[in-house]
C-alpha cells in the first residue's frame, strides 16, 4: 500500500472548492511531487453539495477511500458533517463557521439546524476540529470571497507542503487583481491558528 497525504475539500457548488484544490495541486507541482485530484462538475455544480479530493504524493487513483483522509477542509458546517466519515481516526478538520441551510429543509419543513448543535455534532467524534470564521477574516483581508484561501492558510500548519510553495500557488491561481487580497487572506488564516 503506497501512502499519500489525502485532503478532502467540501462545500457548496460555487464556493471555490476547485480553486482551493488547484492551489494544493500547483504547490505539489512546484515542489516536484506527484499529486492526484478529483472534482465535481456538471449537474452537481448547481448549488449542490460538492467534494474535491486531493492526494498529495498520490500516484494512482484520485479518489480518497472513506475513513482514510488526513485532512478535511469544509466551507460549510453542514457539509463537514456530511463528509466527515471520510476522515481517518484522529484526522483534522478545518471548518468555516458558516452554514447555508439547504432549501430542502424549508420545502420539506424539516427542523432548521442550529449552528451550536452542528458544532457540537462535529466535535463529538475523534477528529481534531478547528472552527474558524473564515468569511469574516477574508473580509478583513479585503474580500469575503477569499474565505477559501483563509482556510488554506489555516490548513498550512497541517499540510506536508512548504508555506512558500503554497503562497506561490495562491498567486498563480487567483485572479490577477486580487493577488494582494489573497496573500493577506492566506497570512491571516495562517495566523488565526
Amino acid at each position: 500500500m503506497k501512502k499519500s497525504y489525502d485532503v478532502l475539500i467540501v462545500g457548496i457548488g460555487g464556493q471555490g472548492t476547485i480553486l482551493a484544490s488547484n492551489v494544493l495541486g500547483d504547490a505539489c507541482v512546484i515542489e516536484g511531487r506527484h499529486v492526484r485530484g478529483a472534482e465535481t462538475h456538471g449537474m452537481s455544480q448547481r448549488g449542490g453539495s460538492v467534494e474535491t479530493h486531493i492526494r498529495i504524493d498520490g500516484k494512482f487513483g484520485s479518489l480518497i477511500a472513506p475513513g482514510s483522509a488526513d485532512l478535511l477542509i469544509a466551507f460549510d458546517m453542514l457539509e463537514a458533517v456530511r463528509y466527515r466519515h471520510f476522515l481517518k481516526d484522529g484526522g483534522t478538520m478545518i471548518v468555516n463557521r458558516e452554514m447555508i441551510v439547504p432549501t430542502s429543509v424549508f420545502s420539506a419543513k424539516l427542523p432548521v439546524p442550529q449552528l451550536d448543535d452542528v458544532a457540537a455534532e462535529l466535535k463529538s467524534g475523534s477528529a481534531k476540529v478547528v472552527l474558524m470564521n473564515a468569511t469574516d477574516i477574508a473580509a478583513k483581508a479585503g474580500s469575503p470571497l477569499a474565505a477559501n484561501i483563509v482556510l488554506l492558510g489555516a490548513a498550512s500548519h497541517e499540510l506536508p507542503l512548504s508555506v512558500a510553495s503554497l503562497e506561490e500557488a495562491v498567486r498563480r491561481n487567483v485572479p490577477q487583481k486580487t493577488i494582494a487580497i489573497n496573500e493577506q487572506a492566506f497570512a491571516l488564516g495562517r495566523e488565526a491558528l
Binding site: 500500500m1 488547484n22 477511500a65 429543509v105
Partner: protein, 595 residues
Amino acid sequence: MAEERKKQYLLGNAAIAHACLEAGVDFVSGYPGTPSSEVVDTLRGVKDPWYYLEWSVNEKVAFENAIGASWCGCRSIVTMKHVGLNVAADPLMTSAYTGVKGGFVVLSADDPFAHSSQNEQDSRMYAKFAQIPCLDPKDVQQAHDMMADAWNISEKFALPVLFRPTTRICHSKSDVALGKENPSTRKGEFVRDPKQYVVIPAHTRPLHAILTKKQAEVAKYLVEAGYNSAVVRGERAVIAGGISAAYVEEILPEDISLITIGAYPIDVDWLAENVAKHTEVLVVEELMPIVEEAVRQVAGTVTVHGKLDGYLPHEGEFSTALVAKALQKAGYLKEDPFPPEKQPTAVAVRPPILCPGCLHRSVFYAMKKVFKDGVFPSDIGCYTLGLQMGAVDTTICMGASITVGSGIAHSCPETDVVSTIGDSTFLHTGVNGLINAVYNNTNQTVIILDNRITAMTGHQPNPNTGVTATGVESPKISLEELARACGVSFVESVDPYDLTDLLETLKAAKEKPGVKVIIAKQPCVIMNKRNGVKRSRYVVDADRCTKCGACIRYGCPALEIDENGAAVTTALCTGCGVCADICPAGALHRGGARQ
C-alpha cells in the same frame, strides 16, 4: 522522456486538449456533454489557433463534419459524451468501412455511476460493434500520451479511433508532463474516390472484408505499442481494464501478476498465452464485462473471476476501496487495507437545484398552476431539475420531450400535455420532433426554455446565442420563425419574470387545439452575473409577511424562514422578482442596492 518534460497540474480534459495541440489537430467539432465538454472548451480558449473549431448542433452533425475533414487529409477530432455517441452511431458504423485519410479521433467520455447522465453505457461496446480501435486510459498522464498518439494509430490503419476516458479521468487532475505544441500547416484536399466514400452495396461489400482483415493487425500492434501489457510474477493474476489498473496498482501484492488492458481489440493469442501462465485470474473493469468475456473465451482450465461470477458489480464506478474488497474476496489480499466504513451522519440533502432567479423555476411554477392535471415530458438540461418541483414527468434523451409528449397526447386525448425543452436541446434534436408533432396533428403545448446558452455543461454557445464557439458573431436563429416554419400557428414569446403574462399565455395555449409553442426568454442568471448585469435584491416586509409559506413553496434558494417563521431573502437573491408576484400579502418588494 516524460519525466524530463515540464509538468503542470491539469484537469484530465485539459491534458487531453493539450495532446490535440501536440498532434497538430486541424479540425475540432463536438457537442457539449458532461464529462467531455472541457476538451473543446480548452481548445476554443487557445488564442490564434491554427485549427478550425466548432460546437455543432448535435453529435451526428459534429461527427459527419469531422469525418469530412479527415477525408480531406486533415487531422480531426469529434467530442461527445457516451449518450451522444448513440446520436452519432449511424455515421460511426459506416465510417469504419469508408475508413479515414487524415487521423480521426472520436472522443466519447463514459460516466460510470451516472454522476450527470441518464445511463451508464459503455462506449467500448460501440468500438467493438463498429470494429474500430478503442483507447481506454488508466490515468490522466496516459490519457494525454494516448491521445497524442491516437492520430498516428488512426492513420496507420486508416480507421477512426475511439478514445474513451471516463468521468474520473476527465474530471481528475494530476501532475502531467506535456509535450510541445505542433502547429499544423496541412492544406485539406479531397481526392475523389467513390469506391471508398460512396457506400452503395457494390462498394460496401469489399470495404467490409478489408475492415475485417484489419482487426488482427490492429490487435497485434496495440500489444507491440505497449497499450496492452503483462507483468507475470505469480500463479495468480489481476487483469485490469482502463482506470481500474490505477486502482489495482495501488494495493496489489507483489506476488500477483498484473495484465493491463488499455486498448481494443485485444490480441487473442497474446491474451491466451498470458492467461495460461496462471492458475487463476481476476478481471477488474468498469461497466460491461468486455475484457472478462474475452478472457473467459481463452481461459481453458484457468479459473476466472470478475463480474460474471459476482466478484465485482456490473454497475457503478470503481475505486481503490471497492477493488480492495474484490481482491480480498479472491484471496489475493489477506486483509482490507482500508478502515471499516463509518456510517455517514444523516444531514438534509443538498441536491443540485435551479439557481436563484433561474427562468425555468417560474415557468415550471406557472405550468403547474395552469395545467394542474397535465403530463409534463421534459428533456436533458438544467431544467431536468424541475423534477424537484413536480414539473418533469419523463426524461430519456436529448430531444425526446416533444416526441414522448406526442406519444402521450395521441394515447391520452383527454390529458393536457406540456413539454419543456431548452434552446440548445431544441436545436439538437427537438426540432425534428416539433415538425413531426405538427405534421401528425398532435395536441400539446411545447415550452422552449430559452436562456440563450447551453448552460448545464458549462455555458457553451449555440446557434441561438448569436456567437460561434470561437467568439465570432453569427446570425442568431429566430426560434419563433423556426417554429412557424415547422407549421405551428400558435407561437408566443414571453418574459418568464412577468408571471401574470406567463400565466395568461399558458391559459391561452390551453384553450387551443394542436401544437402550441411558447418561448420563455430570459438569459441564464449565471451568464448575467458574468456579464455584470445587476438587479437590486428583493426583501421581505416583516410587518406584512403572514408566514403563509407561499414564497417558500416556490423553492428559490434565496428564500429562507427566520427564527420567527417569517420569510427572509438572502444574499443569493438575483432580483428576478417572481416571488413578489407570488406573495398574496404583497410583502416582498425591491429593496435597493445589490449586495
